[in-house]
């Protein structure tokens, strides 16, 4: 396989950036959800 370094860099940067952003959104969402009453979170569902 040619250009392995470029391939690794391009794919891993993309995956890492999306994972980092998604984790931030999920963790912040989890933390803020605890501070809002259930009736104000209409998408709320029990974690099973």
């Amino acid at each position: 396989m040619t250009h392995v370094g470029y391939l690794m860099a391009g794919w891993s940067i993309s995956v890492a950036a999306v994972l980092a952003y998604a984790s931030w959104v999920l963790l912040r969402g989890r933390s803020l959800s605890r501070r809002v009453p259930e009736n104000r979170r209409r998408w709320m569902m029990p974690d099973d």
């Binding site: 396989m1 040619t2 250009h3 392995v4 470029y6 391939l7 860099a9 391009g10 794919w11 940067i13 993309s14 950036a17 999306v18 952003y21 998604a22 959104v25 999920l26 912040r28 969402g29 989890r30 803020l32 959800s33 605890r34 501070r35 809002v36 009453p37 259930e38 104000r40 979170r41 998408w43 709320m44 569902m45 029990p46 974690d47």
Partner: protein
């Protein structure tokens, strides 16, 4: 400041986001398999018998092109939501504009980074200031970073939303310029014109590229749902805090009245 708490687990997840999340993960695993095991390397044989092409670097297409499409989608949605906000003035549209702009910026930055990485083995350069597609994409991303920065300036919510919506409408003009730049200034870009429309790519590559768009779109919707709910929660907390502060002031005022009335 402490606000209301609930005993049940709290997240921005729902059944829909769980399904989309799993679809994204499975789709991404299939995409990696297609991109690295099925799609052949890009080679052509010239009239002189030389083998030329991008070789395996072509596999960067499956992260770079979907990133660009998702950036367009994010900024396009910001444009539509901003337009809708200016028409109906509801929080829902303002939150939608904000959320999609943030996701657009994420994929816009990834477009520039992966494009630069792909450009090095293909064009022997990381960046070319004379390339209209590169420069207009950079301007588009910078405008929407500015949009997000403006949203952080403390202001009355309605003023902030209106100001941001106007910036989004102006910034969105650039989406068309970026997209059409390779046709309008074809001598001033290293980018080729659309190979999709001209059907100049192999079937395996075309299928995998289309599949990467589909996975990207599912990821986009998943991120948008979570980001929208996060922004919604932020507003709910602001409202709760304002209500609590008002209740405290009222209680203080009542106490002061009671003390005055007592001899």
């Amino acid at each position: 400041m402490s606000t209301a708490t609930t005993s049940s687990p709290a997240t921005t997840s729902s059944r829909a986001t769980k399904v989309l999340g799993w679809l994204t993960l499975v789709g991404f695993a299939v995409l990696v398999a297609l991109a690295f095991a099925w799609v052949p390397e890009d080679t052509r044989i010239t009239e002189q018998g030389d083998v030329v092409g991008q070789f395996d670097a072509v596999r960067l297409m499956f992260v770079h092109v979907p990133s660009a499409i998702l950036a367009y989608t994010g900024f396009g949605l910001t444009f539509l939501a901003s337009l809708a906000y200016l028409r109906w003035r509801t929080d829902w549209w303002d939150i939608m504009a904000h959320s999609s702009a943030e996701i657009g910026v994420l994929f816009g930055v990834l477009t520039l980074v992966t494009g630069s990485i792909w450009g090095r083995p293909t064009w022997q350069t990381w960046w070319e200031w004379g390339d209209v597609r590169l420069v207009t994409t950079l301007v588009m991303v910078l405008v929407f970073i500015g949009y997000l920065a403006v949203r952080r300036i403390p202001a009355d919510a309605a003023v902030q939303a209106r100001r941001s919506a106007v910036i989004a409408l102006v910034g969105a003009v650039n989406i068309v310029i970026v997209n059409r730049s390779v046709d309008w200034w074809e001598n001033r870009t290293l980018h080729q014109q659309s190979t999709l429309i001209a059907r100049k790519i192999r079937d395996e590559t075309l299928f995998t590229l289309s599949f990467s768009f589909a996975v990207g779109m599912v990821l986009f919707v998943w991120l948008l749902l979570h980001r929208f709910r996060l922004a919604y929660l932020e507003r709910q907390i602001e409202q709760i805090e304002v209500n609590e502060a008002l209740a405290e002031r009222r209680a203080e005022a009542d106490l002061a009245d009671d003390e005055r009335e007592q001899p």
